[in-house]
């Protein structure tokens, strides 16, 4: 089960005859229906959040974002997400490598299991982690109500992203080049660094960015394990939730807008970086 975020533009239309021909009613109707649906469900509500966050001016926006509790939550979220993204970058690439280049009994099962975090409800993910890493942990590790518990929850829900972006690229990789390099006396490390890695970098970056974006917006999996302690384990989404509950809608909108801006910026930057690497290659 893969969630493919199409960071790349749609393929350019190939100019077959008849495509531009039918400017008839059905297509126009279809287009306006699709746009209306998207606007009513997604665009208008998101615009309302941004508008609401700005409705009392920039000063109020910064005031809301900078309020001690919200600011602590934002810092925790961004910091944890950077760590989670880096761990995923390494572990995700490693798992993808093992899935493509290694053979062992149970590999197919491992390949299937990787997608579980996408399929599992986030609240269930939190409960599941709490059963092993909670107060009555069988391992004797209690991460409940601690920042490491938040990290664990974020690592759980972001596991598939890098694996699933790197794996297909690794599968397509032509092994002739590696064989050639090996025959010319390159060490395994040199082969990995000079030949394999450059081909994987765009996919690794893309997957890591997705993991980061998911991580800063995560809510459900952190709720049970973090205990939502203000200034300690409260993540940004929980802070927004609490502000909504206490009717501070403008404050909630300000933090939301910041989160939205950060995720979109990261996805955009990575998209540009991928293109740049692609052009250079």
């Amino acid at each position: 089960m893969t969630v493919q975020l199409d960071l790349v533009d749609p393929a350019p239309l190939t100019g077959e005859p008849g495509r531009r021909r039918d400017l008839h009613l059905g297509r126009r109707g279809g287009l306006s229906l699709v746009t209306t649906y998207l606007s009513l469900v997604v665009l208008l509500p998101l615009a309302a959040v941004v508008w609401r966050s700005q409705s009392h001016g920039w000063g109020q926006f910064w005031h809301a974002v900078h309020s001690p509790e919200a600011w602590a939550a934002i810092k925790l979220t961004l910091g944890a997400s950077v760590i989670v993204a880096l761990v995923n970058l390494v572990m995700g690439t490693l798992i993808a490598w093992v899935l493509v280049r290694d053979t062992f009994p149970g590999k197919a099962a491992l390949d299937t299991v990787i997608d579980l975090p996408f399929a599992l409800p986030t609240i269930v993910a939190g409960l599941v982690l709490l059963s092993l890493y909670g107060s009555d942990s069988a391992l004797g590790v209690n991460l409940a109500y601690a920042r490491s518990g938040v990290l664990l929850a974020l690592l759980f829900v972001t596991l598939p992203f890098v694996v699933r972006t790197v794996q297909p690229v690794l599968l397509e990789l032509d092994r002739d080049m590696e064989d050639a390099a090996a025959s010319l006396g390159a060490s395994r490390l040199t082969i990995f660094r000079r030949i394999i890695l450059p081909n994987l970098v765009p996919a690794m970056l893309g997957g890591t960015a997705l993991a980061f974006a998911r991580s800063i917006s995560e809510y459900g999996s952190t709720v049970l394990i973090s205990g939502n302690l203000p200034f300690k384990t409260e993540v940004a989404s929980v802070s927004i939730y609490n502000q909504i509950q206490s009717d501070n809608v403008s404050g909630a909108a300000a933090v939301s807008t910041l989160l939205l801006a950060v995720s979109l910026l990261v996805l955009l930057l990575v998209n540009l970086a991928q293109r740049w690497v692609g052009h250079r290659g």
């Binding site: 969630v3 469900v41 997604v42 959040v49």
Partner: protein, 263 residues
């Protein structure tokens, strides 16, 4: 040797993060046998929560499937100004926190002017009621069908569709007889993905539902509420049921992807 150590690192990571916790939840659920699980799941509250989840998930998937197929055809088969913008906008929900989704819907359809206030005066409440929960679920699962169907539509090309049109088929006939059979597996894949996502949605629904037990409480909200009230058996039983649904969905998507690859 190096190869093997990588393998073990990967296996241990997945084991500790994913498999052991899941195994433990299963074990905890059935620790005292089957009957407590059965009892916990057959209370009126639990039954109602799963029923609400089913209604919300089915309605959202229905909406998103119709939208997804339509939007895919538009994006792949037609050219129009703003096509790339539409394509990008469809992916937006992936980058949005579920709580922000909830807030966004409250700001438009809650009792704020102009839209929500007007709807309320007409006696139609969206927030803290079923329509809001469907909207929230539609929002979070919106890209899934499009992203499953569009690439397949791209791949099959237009030769057969054009042939059908040349032979005098109407656009509806062409869709029903040519296009749809070719994208059926992809639509199925997208539907299963959306169903799993819809059944599992928590944050967005938590914000717009108002947590009214026995009314707007879904299965995932039930898990949280039971856990917070120290009724762990019920929380575990409901979690296990949801996890099983997720596993079935996962296996189904595997099967559908294999089938899609073959055709």
């Amino acid at each position: 040797m190096a190869k093997h150590s990588l393998r073990w690192v990967a296996l241990v990571y997945v084991l500790l993060l994913l498999l052991l916790p899941l195994g433990l939840v299963t074990w905890r659920t059935f620790e005292h046998g089957l009957s407590p699980v059965f009892d916990a799941l057959t209370t009126q509250e639990a039954g109602h929560a799963f029923q609400v989840t089913a209604i919300v998930a089915l309605l959202s998937v229905l909406c998103n499937t119709v939208f997804g197929v339509g939007a895919s055809i538009l994006l792949v088969r037609h050219d129009f100004p703003g096509r790339r913008l539409l394509n990008a906008a469809i992916d937006l929900p992936i980058a949005v926190s579920p709580v922000v989704v909830g807030l966004a819907l409250i700001l438009v359809y809650g009792r704020f002017e102009p839209i929500g206030g007007w709807l309320h005066r007409q006696g139609f409440d969206v927030i803290y009621a079923l329509p809001g929960m469907v909207l929230a679920t539609v929002f979070v699962s919106l890209p899934l069908v499009v992203r499953a169907v569009a690439p397949v539509l791209e791949e099959i090309g237009t030769d057969q569709e054009q042939a059908a049109r040349t032979l005098g088929a109407s656009s509806w006939q062409t869709f029903r007889r040519i296009t749809f059979p070719a994208i059926r597996a992809a639509v199925g894949y997208g539907v299963v993905l959306s169903l799993a996502r819809s059944i599992g949605e928590f944050g967005a629904v938590a914000v717009v539902s108002g947590h009214i037990v026995g009314s707007t409480q879904t299965a995932t909200l039930f898990v949280e509420e039971r856990f917070e009230n120290f009724d762990q058996p019920a929380a575990y039983a409901a979690s296990f049921t949801l996890a099983m649904t997720a596993v079935i969905a996962l296996l189904l998507t595997r099967y559908l992807r294999l089938r899609g690859d073959r055709t």
